[in-house]
Amino acid sequence: MVNEHNNLPETEHIEVGRLIGTLGRVQAPKDFDFQVRARIAIGKPQEKRASWFPATVRFAAPLGLLLAVGGYVGYNSVYSTDVASVPVVAYAPAEPGSPVNNPVAQDQPVVNTEVIADQTLAEAKPETTPDRILKTGQKTPAVTEPKNEKPGGGSYDTAATDSKKINAPDIDDLAPAPKRVLISAKDFLSSIGVSASSTGTGGRIQSVGGSAAAVGIMVGDVIESISVQTRTIRVTRDGKSLAFSIR
């Protein structure tokens, strides 16, 4: 006879069963009933649960990690040192005939000299601009130093420590030091009566006064770019890009 389930002969099944049946039987200890009564006297048994420790770790570890990441991101977003996303710092030499002091130059097209706010330092290529416009972004750690041809070279560390103070490049050491004007974007905006807050893609104007209001800049405009040199500010209003020259 063959077992229908796994094709093992029935006799072999019987042999295995008989072999297992030869195992000796163990007995309960003598105090078995007493122990059961003692347990019953204690009360209804509680379901055995796993220790609280593994469950705590299972949930606490990811939660802690989440809180840490969330806290870091939240802290950085709340306590950001950004005034506005207008990462422009301009150096404008106050030389005779410079566009800053030249009313004729101010009438020149803005496009040639304005600096896009989101551009990086490398993209701006300050060496190629005629008026030596330098800029640094919020996220740009340093402003370019002029190439130092002297042996020993220089260090970018000095620029990295103070990104808003920019040394005038390419200055002839023998010539008298020109009068330098250091203007940051924040200072420039303040000087024309504009305060702005960061929006991520630019600076949204919060209040307008003074010369900025006179030329038509309005609250809610988003600053695209600032040209300190030409005293020109380009904003987006209702999806349109507008340029204003501040007098």
Binding site: G17, I20, A28
Partner: protein
């Protein structure tokens, strides 16, 4: 019918039948529900050894088997009000014991606890079979028997749960296929299939003793 000493009809007669071992499991359960603690003692006397043996073969750990057998009786005691007599009491109590044993096995796997029984294992990593001490030396023949028992017990304990339970119930406890199916809450065909499969697995490991 005369009142007995407790003022309850028929209790005295019931005790006499209990003393003679004539009361069925259901009658003992009813008596326990009625507050007769001696009826529960009778239930324990009927099932403590079979349950301990069953759990021992399942867990291969005597102390754990005794602990779970006691736990089984405690749970039965507190759940008697919910017990329905549509099932045989033996099926009911074996099902509770099986569930406790399976939970224990899974708990062991989860925690991966070091088994203290490993401290008492021999060099061949074989488990020590529980043997009540009788104070006399074992003859050679008994040593051989002991070795065989250990091997069989180890092979059973190594079976997967779904084969171990029916094989022990059928071949160690001598339950019928129907009883095994009821305890495991499986169909008769599935139960037979698992028993056959479990035996086949055992046959591979116990070839030397067949």
């Amino acid at each position: 019918m005369a009142l007995d000493s407790t003022g309850t009809f028929g209790v005295g007669v019931q005790r006499n039948r209990m003393a003679e071992g004539k009361l069925s499991d259901h009658e003992l359960v009813d008596a326990t529900r009625g507050g007769d603690e001696s009826a529960f003692n009778e239930i324990m006397s009927r099932y403590r050894n079979p349950l301990t043996n069953y759990l021992y073969r399942f867990l291969n750990d005597y102390e754990e088997a005794v602990d779970l057998a006691q736990e089984t009786f405690v749970r039965v005691y507190f759940a008697l009000d919910r017990y329905h007599t549509q099932y045989a009491f033996s099926t009911y109590i074996y099902r509770i014991a099986t569930n406790l044993a399976i939970s224990e096995i899974r708990r062991r796997k989860r925690r991966k606890l070091l088994s203290l029984t490993g401290l008492f294992q021999g060099e061949d990593d074989s488990d020590v079979e529980f043997q009540p001490t009788d104070g006399k030396m074992l003859a050679d023949e008994e040593l051989v028997e002991d070795e065989r028992s250990r091997t069989i017990a180890k092979a059973i304990a190594a079976l997967p749960e779904k084969y171990r339970v029916p094989v022990i119930l059928r071949d160690v406890e001598g339950k019928s296929y129907d009883e095994v199916a009821e305890i495991m809450e499986l169909g008769l065909g599935t139960t037979k299939s698992r028993i056959s499969r479990g035996r086949a697995l055992l046959k591979e490991k116990l070839q030397n003793y067949l």
